[in-house]
């Protein structure tokens, strides 16, 4: 297999954006191309992650992007894996370079949904569940994670205030990220007093619906060396699955796909969870970050909440979790999120993360899943 590198990365700001889905897809892609210092014609194909293009009247975005980049003859593929679309798309691009099919690709993720309003966005997202059993019975995504949260509160020594500390920590990091949707410090009290969305989760336990696009340039090691500039190496890649409906899971407080994907990625990289300096994890809800950090092997089952309580996941503590602000503060444009995590790792490992830099970081991890973790991809990167 060829070694695979990330040569450039860029994002639009995340939030409520006025520009069209095609415009923001292109803006992020151009910033990744410029970051890599390459010409568009060096890109052999594109991988696009997007879920609800239909909401902004544009599906089949790949050819539109390639046309705008002046390379309409290059193939593109659009990938949907709910909120995990970005990391799955990254994996496909990675695999194609590793296999030697291409030496340089662009992977761009995008979502444009905020104009549809909360009710319809909530409705669209519910289509990502096992609809016959969940969405059809009125389960929203906050509701499904709230069901996990109540199971966690029932099983372990945890409180709603503990979950709130995840939100506070991620907002602290997001304040330092100019691209973040929610650049605002919050307190545990703010979270506890925010409106209940799906008990026990309150508004500030939930990530926002965001618009946004992120893009990265992947290439072979040979291509990266020839083009110079800053790049990072992908040293591990894993994917996994879980029963689509929560009711089918052996444990309601574990996401099996995270365990499967991370074990594969660690094995490929020849490392363990202890070697990770920082991680961008899928914190669509505060409970999710707690569960993720356990399933990724950073903490024992039931102890993730203790780590949050003790501040061990803050920036430059034991392990910096979501230095970007995570989905919670940076925002969650679902098709872009998995690629946005790679953008953060690229910025961190090439010295571009400014005030939110994880000191002396050499190895970073991205963890991104679809729905309640029915699909998941984990990648491990190291500085060169």
């Amino acid at each position: 297999m060829e070694k695979v590198c990330v040569l450039g990365a860029g994002s639009t700001k995340y939030g409520k954006l006025a520009d069209s889905i095609a415009d923001i897809t292109t803006q992020a892609s151009v910033s990744a191309i410029e970051s890599a210092g390459i010409e568009p014609k060096e890109i052999k194909a594109s991988y696009i992650s997007n879920v609800f293009g239909v909401a902004d009247k544009q599906v089949h975005i790949g050819p539109v992007l390639m046309s705008r980049l002046g390379i309409p003859d290059r193939p593109s593929l659009t990938i949907e894996s709910a909120c995990g679309s970005g990391s799955v798309s990254f994996r496909e691009a990675y695999a194609n370079i590793a296999a030697g099919f291409y030496d340089c690709l662009i992977a761009t993720g995008v979502e444009k949904v905020t104009h549809t309003g909360t009710e319809w966005t909530t409705t669209y997202f519910a289509y990502c569940s096992d609809f016959f059993y969940e969405g059809q019975a009125g389960a929203s995504f906050p509701g499904l994670f709230a069901s996990m949260a109540r199971a966690y509160l029932t099983e372990f020594d945890a409180t709603e205030e503990d979950f709130a500390k995840v939100a506070v920590k991620n907002h602290d990091n997001g304040v330092l990220n100019p691209k973040a949707h929610m650049q605002k410090k919050i307190t545990v009290d703010d979270v506890m007093k925010s409106a209940v969305v799906a008990s026990p989760l309150k508004l500030y336990d939930c990530c926002p619906f965001s618009d946004g696009a992120s893009s990265v340039i992947l290439c072979s090691e040979k291509f990266a060396k020839e083009h110079g500039g800053d790049y990072i190496e992908v040293i591990g890649s894993g994917r996994g699955g879980s029963p689509a409906a929560l009711q089918g899971r052996e444990h309601l407080t574990t996401i099996p796909s995270t365990k499967i994907a991370s074990e594969q990625a660690y094995k490929m990289a020849g490392i363990t969870s202890k070697d990770i300096d920082f991680a961008e994890v899928h914190d669509c809800f505060t409970i999710a970050e707690v569960v993720d950090t356990e399933d990724l092997g950073f903490f024992e089952k039931g102890k993730g909440v203790e780590a949050v309580r003790e501040g061990r996941t803050k920036l430059n503590s034991d392990i910096s979790i979501n230095p970007s602000g995570g989905l919670k503060s940076k925002g969650h444009p679902i098709g872009a999120t998995g690629i946005g995590q790679v953008v953060e790792v690229f910025d961190q490992l090439t010295g571009k993360a400014g005030e939110r830099t994880v000191k002396d970081a050499k190895v970073g991890l991205t963890h991104n899943f679809g729905a309640t973790g029915a699909s998941c991809a984990v990648h491990v990167f190291q500085s060169v």
């Binding site: 019975a137 109540r150 799906a198």
Partner: protein, 121 residues
């Protein structure tokens, strides 16, 4: 009748249609086509009473389209009596966690535009 239609017709009678693997005996919801444990395709239909115990739930106040008129309501996950099998569904008129402690006895009572309907026993 499709598999989902069979689930619906039985839920309207307060029952849950399940699939028991004829090779290893593992019990599934009837939407399973291959055994989770042994990969076998042979199943026998087993009709269970739709009674059980609530293992987790949420009370939804921000609802998807079509559910606004029911808020607040609960989405519940129930473990069936005498079976290692869970089923989720819609429960009406739950406003606070004190209305529905984990461990509450419940039963399937129907199926409509709110999916599988579960009520407190």
């Amino acid at each position: 009748m499709s598999v989902e239609e069979q689930v619906i017709e039985n839920a309207k009678q307060g029952k849950l249609l399940t699939h028991k693997c004829t090779n290893c005996g593992y019990l599934h919801l009837s939407t399973a086509y291959y055994c989770l444990k042994c990969g076998s395709k042979g199943f026998e239909d087993v009709l269970l009473e739709g009674t059980g115990t609530i293992v987790t739930y949420t009370i939804i106040t921000v609802a998807p389209a079509g559910f606004e008129k029911y808020t607040p309501y609960a989405f519940v996950v129930m473990i069936l009596d005498n079976a290692e099998l869970r089923i989720s569904g819609f429960m009406a008129e739950i406003a606070t966690p004190s209305d529905l402690p984990v461990g509450t006895r419940a039963k399937i009572t129907g199926f409509d535009e709110r999916g599988i309907i579960i009520e407190k026993q």
